[in-house]
């Protein structure tokens, strides 16, 4: 298979067919911030932190590098005024949910994100989906999933499966960027509510 040659931040990189820009960057030792990316999981494209500028065929646009396929001769820039501005905003939006999250602190400092820009939201979860995807793709137990949509979206354990699988596993806990707070909390709540007459966890909204 022929290599795909393009540049990231002025440096020439090589990618193979099927690689994304992010994977090519990692291979070349160039860092791009991510939150919902995990090398063992299918790219999710949810946090948008890995957004980069791509110049190809005369026009420039912003794309999400964990999903964008590596392409011959494109010029990729991992930092720019616009990219930085958007990353700062994404961090500020996430810190409304989890201002103390370990993974967000360094990034916040680097991009000048203000943890108090937005009023605090009641939920810690920042919907990176790592727990759901790990359980689905790697463990294949499907003990946890998403429910609802939009601003009401939440993660939710399936009590019958969780009560059998989770205590002995807990592999998703360290993946949670907000330090497993939400994962542990929701798990305890789900198990305490078992057996529950309805699937929907008691809504606190």
């Amino acid at each position: 298979m022929s290599d795909i040659l393009f540049s990231i931040d002025g440096k020439e990189v090589k990618a193979t067919q099927g690689m994304t820009v992010l994977e090519a960057a990692h291979k070349a030792g160039i860092s791009i911030p991510t939150l919902c990316y995990h090398e063992k999981l299918e790219p999710f494209g949810g946090c948008r932190l890995c957004i980069v500028e791509v110049e190809s065929r005369g026009s420039t646009r912003l794309v999400v590098s964990c999903v964008y396929p590596a392409e011959k001769n494109i010029v990729v820039r991992t930092r720019s005024e616009k990219v930085d501005r958007i990353r700062k905003m994404i961090l500020e939006l996430l810190m409304a949910h989890a201002p103390d999250a370990f993974d967000l602190q360094d990034l916040a400092k680097e991009y000048g994100a203000d943890r108090n820009r937005f009023e605090k939201e009641p939920s810690f979860c920042i919907h990176c989906g790592l727990c759901v995807r790990y359980c689905n793709e790697i463990k294949k137990k499907n003990a946890i999933g998403f429910v609802d949509r939009g601003i009401r979206k939440e993660i939710s354990f399936v009590p019958e499966i969780a009560s059998k699988e989770c205590w002995g596993c807990k592999e998703c806990f360290p993946l949670c960027p907000t330090e497993a707070l939400q994962a542990a909390y929701v798990l305890v709540e789900a198990l305490a509510a078992f057996p529950s007459p309805s699937l929907k966890p008691a809504s606190g909204e």
Binding site: V132, N142, L199
Partner: protein, 150 residues
């Protein structure tokens, strides 16, 4: 919900996992809500994880995981009705029934939902109860209309 009927519906759709939404729609139409045991049967027969069913049953507005009232009130809050004052109709209905959109009252008499366009824009603001359309609703009339439902 009767297990036999659930199996019948699944078989009508050739037990294909991709027909999950269609199966649930039929179950919802016949039973007016989706009990947990019914969903577990669907998961078992269609061989799909419960998390997927959970997600679909909550993602799509057509499904209800709790029993509904005897009368389903739908208030259209589409743009044309909104511009003609649907919010005021909704506020008055909330006041009369004591429930907000997405809720059912304790007597299981009324369930209230907002819908985003019934396509009867000429009749806006529109309130639909049990499938019957009440057009050109004024807030003052809503109490009188609702009184007719037992």
């Amino acid at each position: 919900m009767d297990r036999e009927r659930i199996d019948q519906i699944i078989d009508e759709h050739l037990c294909e996992p991709s027909s999950l939404i269609q199966v649930l729609l039929q179950m919802q139409a016949e039973n007016h809500w989706l009990p947990k045991e019914a969903l577990e049967r669907v998961a078992e027969r269609l061989q799909v994880p419960m998390t997927r069913i959970q997600h679909i049953a909550t993602f799509y507005k057509a499904f209800s995981l709790v029993p509904k009232g005897r009368h389903e009130i739908h208030i259209c809050v589409g743009t044309a009705c909104h511009v003609r004052g649907a919010q005021r109709v909704l506020d008055t209905v909330e006041g009369v029934t004591g429930i907000r959109p997405g809720e059912t009252d304790l007597d299981l008499k009324f369930s209230l939902e907002t819908v985003n366009c019934l396509g009867c824009c000429a009749l806006g603001p529109v309130m639909e109860i049990d499938g019957k359309t009440h057009g050109k609703m004024a807030p003052a009339e809503t109490a009188a209309v609702l009184k007719n439902y037992e």
